[in-house]
Amino acid sequence: MTTEIHTLVGAYVLDAVDDIERASFERHLRECDSCRTEVHELSETATRLADNTWSVPPPWLRENVLSEIGRTRQLPPKVDAAPPARPAARWRRFTAAAAAVVAAVGAGSAVYVVQDQRVREEQRVAAAARSDEARVRAILSAPDVVLKKQDVSTGGRVTVATSQLHNAGVVMLAADAVPTGRVFQLWTIRPGGAPVSAGVLHEGQAADVVVLNGLPGATDVGLTIEPPRGSATPTLPMVADVKL
């Protein structure tokens, strides 16, 4: 674990090594259980660095990839190429992994004891935001997504992305601030129906991302300026009216 080659663990995980170093590091890994555990953990961490690089791929990419895999043969599961002379290897690996789990559980419960309600609440909010985020991303990257944009008359812009496949839409608002004592309110308008509130922003809040289910059935997304806590019917004129 403390050999010279092992100092490459960070660079290896970040793909900052060349092919020769990679090969020798992987040789080292085969001999060292604890090193493998470290590499797995740090690889998971490095993967998280991709979390904030999200970008919507062009819609045709999905079709290209799916037609390409239709022509691509899959490799069979790997037959263990390790020399058969080391029957204990797998067992050793297992015990090391088990030891790591036991250690992790121990550390985990110690941490849990000091964790207070506030932290749990933050985690709950973060988890909720994550699941909502996943939904926003799914809608925005749907192959049938349609985008509509409209300037806000008081400054800024509303963008609406709708997907029939998801039967939902995402409303993105980035507007200039409204006067103190006023708030933004979003509305959806359906054929033959009265405008329905789609959410009221806080005082001082001029940007938001909102998921709306059933949006493809609506004809318009409207934006008005209302008294705090919003109104039951829109105060005209609307400052933005996005025709879907």
Binding site: V56, P57, R62, L66, T72, A129, S131, A174, N213
Partner: protein, 205 residues
């Protein structure tokens, strides 16, 4: 159909309880993909493609090349699916390792040829998708990753991000930072350890 009642929402995205099916798990999908299930692969695509494309685009900084390399990486996921070993880490991590390595291979081979700049110039016509992505990204960017990166020392952060987001080798990182090689190797390792401790072990989808 409004997702939220009037005046009771937090500042960031509100939770939408019970809306839509729960997002599928990458590990489950990958197991089905390993059995040749193309439909499961479609679902896996929907789950990971924006992040795979985003990561590759971040490293390559050229949308056209990013598209090409994303396709290569995802086809490799299909080809190699049966070799994924859950005992060695999560499916998500496995997929991103493939994607990142592909991007790095490309950026290093491209660094030799200077045609990259020229191609980037030609290909940088923004699509509406880019625009929306940028707009939403500002809002959705994982605060946690950023916060944890801010937690690192300057040298740790530079070493980790120059390697991961720009695809530089550690000798090149050492050169860029004017820092001895052993120090750079150490900072990459202890930077990642500090990130691990800050972010916890959970991996999204």
């Amino acid at each position: 159909m409004a997702e939220r009642g009037v005046g009771r929402r937090p500042e960031h995205l509100a939770a939408v309880p019970g809306v839509g099916p729960p997002p599928p798990d990458a590990g489950d999908l990958l197991r089905e993909v390993a059995r040749g299930d193309e439909k499961a692969f479609g679902k896996l695509y929907d789950l990971v493609a924006p992040r795979v494309y985003g990561l590759i685009r971040r490293v390559l900084r050229d949308p056209a090349q990013a598209e090409e390399v994303t396709q290569e990486a995802l086809v490799e996921v299909w080809r190699m699916a049966a070799r994924f070993d859950p005992a060695r880490g999560s499916a998500t991590s496995w997929i991103f390792t493939i994607a990142h390595r592909r991007a790095v291979d490309r950026v290093r081979s491209e660094q030799a040829a200077s045609e990259r700049t020229i191609r980037a110039g030609v290909a940088s016509v923004d699509t509406p998708y880019d625009e929306v992505a940028d707009e939403v990204n500002g809002r959705l960017e994982r605060q946690q990753v950023r916060r944890c990166l801010d937690d690192l020392t300057e040298l740790q952060r530079q070493a980790v991000t120059l390697a991961y987001y720009q695809g530089h080798s550690y000798p090149r990182v050492a050169e860029l930072l004017g820092t001895p090689l052993p120090t750079v190797k150490t900072r990459m390792r202890d930077g990642l350890i500090r990130l691990r401790d800050c972010m916890g072990t959970g991996v999204s989808a």
